[in-house]
């Protein structure tokens, strides 16, 4: 009983105007202070725990998702004010389609309403300079939602200061498969035949005529064997100049295919030139700064098919116990400060080791 009174008094106190004003000023101050250090350029969130929050608070699942959206708005405000350039959120997984139809529809409805509201306030959005992108399998989204998405995306496309990536419906395996497929399609496109001012047939013709004239001159003075070797050399060189870019295996396979392309076969880019960077440029996150920080709420310590390609190198991954609707500056601030602290310590250590080496060199 006493605790209930206490919590009511607390709520009353926290909601009184001067206290609210004070908290707001404190938030601004803390965010301003955060900006003085280095800030992650790209942060990703797995917004986990909406349903569990709803269950534990005895409200409807959809209501939990609504509160989750409010949490997202709060977090975005913190991120953009503190200088994060790109925020990527896991809104909907392809696997989520397995959930109840009611919940999926409600989520999609929410997305539609929010995005169309957003579209009504285009000029206000420009103040943040944020653009929205939707990453994932568009084909799985219903038409009316897709329309709202496209409107919001097109409206904000010109903003360059900050980016919000909404992953919906997304899985990382799907993203990687798509990247591989797109790369393969890129590399299966024949190279445009180069228009140079020299024609191959003319060159062969010249060589042949030269050989003929030289042959007629030299045949009498030299033994015929030298003429024979030069002949074979010529045939080798012509056959290799015909397809300069095709790998050696290609010509053998081509003979199996039959005389599909007579004389002139398409040349393809060399598959050996494919690098991780090329695959990276085919991911949905192409051109964005590397992922610095990935936060997952609700204490689940799994990546659940999110940003695997982007986060498996030196991204700092943080698993938090709190549920997503509870996520706020007060839970995010320690994460950011720790990130700054580690970054500074890492730099110092690097500097220190380099300094040590320099000292050694000086001593020697």
């Amino acid at each position: 009983m006493a605790s209930m009174h206490l919590s009511q008094i607390r709520r009353w106190l926290l909601q009184s105007p001067p206290v609210e004003w004070g908290i707001m000023q404190l938030r601004e101050l803390l965010i301003g202070a955060l900006r003085q250090g280095s800030i992650p350029q790209h942060v990703a969130f797995v917004m986990d725990g909406n349903r569990r929050f709803a269950k534990s608070h005895g409200i409807e699942t959809v209501e939990g998702h609504n509160l989750g959206f409010e949490a997202l708005a709060r977090v975005l405000e913190v991120c953009y004010k503190s200088g994060v350039k790109v925020v990527t959120v896991y809104a909907f997984s392809i696997a989520n389609f397995k959930r109840s139809k009611y919940e999926v529809d409600a989520l999609m409805d929410m997305a539609k309403v929010k995005l169309s509201q957003l579209a009504q306030h285009g000029d206000l959005l420009d103040r943040y300079g944020a653009c929205i992108r939707v990453l994932g399998q568009r084909e799985l989204i219903k038409d009316d939602v897709l329309e709202a998405i496209d409107r919001a995306v097109n409206m904000t496309a010109k903003n360059k200061d900050a980016i919000l990536n909404i992953c919906c419906p997304y899985t990382s395996h799907d993203e990687m498969t798509t990247a591989i497929r797109d790369t393969v399609i890129d590399y299966s496109r024949p190279l445009p035949s180069q228009q140079r001012s020299f024609s191959e047939s003319h060159i062969t013709h010249t060589i042949r005529s030269r050989h003929l004239s030289a042959g007629t001159l030299k045949v009498r003075s030299h033994s015929p064997s030298s003429g024979a070797t030069s002949d074979t050399e010529e045939s080798i060189s012509t056959s290799s100049t015909l397809h300069p870019d095709s790998p050696p295996g290609d010509s053998m396979e081509g003979e199996d295919d039959g005389p599909k392309s007579e004389g002139f076969r398409d040349t393809f880019p060399d598959p050996e030139t494919i690098t991780p960077e090329i695959l990276n440029d085919h991911m949905f996150t192409a051109g964005l700064p590397p992922l610095d920080l990935l936060v997952r709420t609700s204490g689940v310590e799994r990546l659940s098919d999110f940003m695997l390609w982007q986060c498996h190198q030196d991204t700092e991954i943080v698993f938090l116990k709190c549920l997503w609707p509870e996520f706020d500056l007060w839970t995010f601030l320690p994460v950011l400060v720790e990130w700054q602290w580690k970054r500074r310590n890492g730099l110092e250590r690097e500097k220190g080791s380099r300094g040590g080496i320099e000292k050694l060199i000086k001593m020697a």
């Binding site: 909601q15 609210e20 908290i23 938030r27 101050l29 803390l30 301003g32 202070a33 955060l34 003085q36 609504n66 409010e70 709060r74 405000e77 409805d109 309403v113 169309s116 009504q120 306030h121 206000l124 420009d126 103040r127 943040y128 990382s172 395996h173 799907d174 990687m176 498969t177 591989i180 497929r181 790369t183 393969v184 399609i185 590399y187 299966s188 290609d250 295919d257 393809f268 598959p271 494919i274 991780p276 695959l279 799994r302 990546l303 659940s304 695997l308 498996h312 190198q313 991204t315 700092e316 991954i317 943080v318 698993f319 500056l329 320690p334 400060v337 720790e338 700054q340 602290w341 580690k342």
Partner: protein, 330 residues
């Protein structure tokens, strides 16, 4: 941060799917929270007549922010020292309470209550930077041998070990020897059959010695160890893309045939399947280039501020995997 009164209005609006407020009302609700319009808009407005006060003010605010930043980091470094000490102490307590004494029976006792065990466990080990010579490799191999022995005792049939540089792959036979001798130290004469392999390198089964081959289905079980490096991560996916491109160029495959299942099957075949549990022995969660395709649903376990391999960490990982509470003592 939104004031509570306005939150209430906003939620009313949400409940009625945006019908409660008109766009104009919503804009008014939002206005106080918006940042200043971008500078291009400001220039159109008449310049403030404050003159000098503006730069002074912004200078003062910057100083204040710097001051708060310094205080914040000062407090944080105190906090993190305390946290690290706390975790080290806790870790020591665990290490004392749970020690394996190289006895398989004790280790079995420790995991007796767990209702599920990972079928495929993965660990990330680190080659210490300072001792890149043979000492580093030796300590790495020793850690690997210890973990293998614990896995064999618990009954985990598959262990994959990721180490960024892949230096252990060059020492496959001696790794096998080290692990075998460690297993002998734990089990005595009858050790489980042991297979050590790495992707694209022929595997070593029981060190090639024939007399132990009939132990394959010995009561002591079987353990296979897979050595992984950064090569098996992105590069494998790149290699797959190269092969697929080549096939597509020769018209042996249409790009539309490239499906998630195909990629998954190929990656699983050439490297490994998805591990059930990934244990990190470092102070924070950083995958260091671990194969990205395979960590999809893997449980990732780490102990905050921990450095180094320890039996208590291994045990805690298994307990958290089985969602079981660890009581103190045995």
């Amino acid at each position: 941060m939104v004031l509570s009164k306005e939150t209430k209005i906003y939620r009313q609006d949400v409940r009625e799917k945006g019908a409660f407020l008109t766009p104009q009302q919503r804009e008014d609700l939002l206005k106080p929270y918006l940042p200043d319009p971008p500078p291009t808009m400001v220039s159109k407005a008449p310049m403030p007549r404050k003159g000098m006060t503006q730069p002074v003010r912004s200078f003062a605010i910057k100083q204040l922010h710097l001051f708060v930043f310094t205080i914040m980091h000062l407090l944080f470094s105190v906090y993190i020292r305390i946290r690290q000490t706390y975790h080290v102490l806790w870790n020591q307590i665990f290490a004392v309470l749970y020690y394996h004494h190289k006895a398989p029976e004790l280790i079995k006792q420790d995991v007796k209550n767990l209702n599920r065990l990972p079928g495929h466990m993965s660990v990330i080990l680190e080659l210490k930077g300072e001792e890149r010579g043979t000492a580093g490799v030796e300590s790495l191999m020793d850690d690997l041998a210890e973990i293998s022995a614990w896995c064999a005792c618990v009954g985990i049939p598959m262990l994959s070990v990721y180490e960024r540089t892949g230096i252990l792959k060059a020492y496959l036979p001696s790794t096998h020897r080290t692990v075998t001798s460690k297993l002998h130290a734990y089990f005595g004469r009858n050790i489980p059959s042991l297979q050590v392999r790495a992707p694209h390198i022929p595997s070593l089964l029981n060190g090639g010695s024939s007399e132990e081959l009939d132990h394959l289905d010995s009561p002591s079980g079987h353990l296979s160890i897979l050595l992984l490096s950064a090569e098996d991560g992105r590069s494998t996916l790149v290699d797959l893309t190269k092969t697929l491109s080549e096939m597509s160029q020769r018209k042996k495959l249409s790009p539309n045939d490239i499906s998630l299942d195909l990629v998954d099957a190929e990656i699983t075949e050439s490297v490994m399947g998805e591990p059930d549990l990934l244990v990190l022995f470092g102070p924070n969660v950083e995958l260091q280039g671990y194969p990205p395709w395979q960590v999809r649903l893997t449980e990732i376990f780490h102990v905050q501020d921990n450095t180094g391999v320890g039996y208590q960490i291994f045990l805690r990982a298994l307990h958290s995997f089985a969602k079981a509470q660890m009581r103190f003592g045995r």
